[in-house]
Amino acid sequence: MKHARIAWTGAVHEAVESNGELLLTHSPWAGKRLKFDEVVWLPPMAPVQQARTILALGLNYADHAKELAFKAPEEPLVFVKGEASLIGHKALTRRPQGVTHMHYECELAVVIGRTAKHVKKENAYDYVGGYTVANDYAIRDYLENWYRPNFRVKNRDTCTPIGPWLVDAKDIHDVYGSPMNLSLQTTVNGKVTQSGHTSDMIFDVPTLIEYFSAFMTLQPGDLILTGTPDGVVNCEVGDVIVTCIEGVGDLINTLGE
């Protein structure tokens, strides 16, 4: 099932995808059907009691590492993001005036489903609740070689669109075998600029869950953004960027100022 969180008529609602529409699932509107363009889309994860942990991978596709002139890392290159950088589907992301290179990053996002500590690779999928699409924007003008990628590049308000759907892990595993078998694509104003495949990840999802859970306990709702493949290009104000992952969703974002 594909889950969404939306705002509609003055309140936030839980919904699922049903025959190309949103079906509200909770009282007082349980059973109500809405068109996709009637609502405001929020990040699809249920709220958590304290700020969720958001881990994000850099250079996790060999071709992208090469594109950025790095050799592939020997262990995951990971940074942490604040929850306030998240924003929903069809949102406006702010491009600061005067920057020269702001690019999208289409990423498969893993949503943890149960408390994970010292998890072994072979059991890792048992701890995944679902998958969604993230667009982990970067503004290269602000890159500095201190705890790189630094927060001014990667932790900006509105710069991590996520959604539209939280897709149950089982659906992906049943149809595709695993999340390591999905094609990724980004379009800018309708033109394909980035194409890749999750099978090209350097550290796959089970490896990442084993690696992180060896020293940090992950909680339901925590996120792992698994990195982006080759093909990132500068985008300007007004550009419509659609980051797509097979079976997971098409996440639309527009740059504004």
């Binding site: 700020a51 500095e144 927060f151």
Partner: protein, 215 residues
């Protein structure tokens, strides 16, 4: 924002500032222009302490089996309320596995389970002179460090302003204002069996014992 009878516990994202004391900055300055940094930092250098790191005062902090000692990072932290306004101050211990390089994000050194000691009590910000506060760090009752917030690279308001240029603090978020190093550039260390106390005038002390990792 919080019930006074209940111990303070962070609910938002906990951010920390690296290299915010002049002593550490000056010690590292000669190498800042070299690879891999190729220049002194311009924006504040930040990190996040994830929720799995939070440890209440009085509880023990486990040191991973393969780690002989950890760094003690005594910090005064700001707690934010609505509209990104600082409302309170709290003492925290930003524990780290010692690491020399500040090139890549320090997740495996700083986001280990239990690695942020958090005092049980906040103090209203109006009662604290942030940029004059002095913290005392004791290990097993012996004073090992005195941290004066008069010695920062960015005073608290300047740090806050420079971070707010690109991100907005949410209600419940926390900002660690920095931890100083000792004259040799290292931080005080703790090993299994040590009791670390961080105190400041008018604040409830933060005390944590360091223990071995459970098998």
């Amino acid at each position: 924002m919080q019930n006074n009878l209940k111990p303070y516990w962070p609910i938002g994202t906990v951010y920390g500032a690296l290299l915010n004391f002049k002593r550490e900055w000056d010690l590292r300055a000669p190498q800042m222009s070299e690879a891999p940094h190729k220049g002194a930092p311009k924006a504040p250098v930040l990190f996040i302490k994830t929720a799995n790191t939070f440890t209440a005062s009085g509880d023990s902090i486990a040191i991973p089996a393969n780690v002989p000692e950890v760094d003690v990072g005594a910090n005064l932290a700001w707690v934010f309320g609505a509209d990104a306004r600082v409302v309170a101050c709290v003492l925290v211990n930003d524990v780290s596995i010692p690491h020399e390089s500040y090139y890549r994000p320090p997740v495996k050194f700083k986001c280990v389970d239990g690695f942020l000691g958090v005092s049980a009590k906040c103090k209203p910000v109006a009662e604290v002179q942030t940029d004059a506060l002095v913290l005392t760090v004791k290990v097993n009752g012996h004073t090992v460090q005195s941290v004066s917030y008069a010695d920062t690279v960015r005073a608290s308001q300047k740090l806050f302003a420079d971070i707010s240029e690109f991100m907005t603090f949410q209600e419940g978020d926390v900002l660690l204002l920095g931890s100083d190093c000792l004259p040799d550039g290292k931080r005080p260390r703790a090993k299994v069996g040590d009791v670390v106390e961080i105190s400041a005038p008018g604040f409830e002390s933060l005390v944590n014992e360091f223990v071995g990792e459970a098998a």
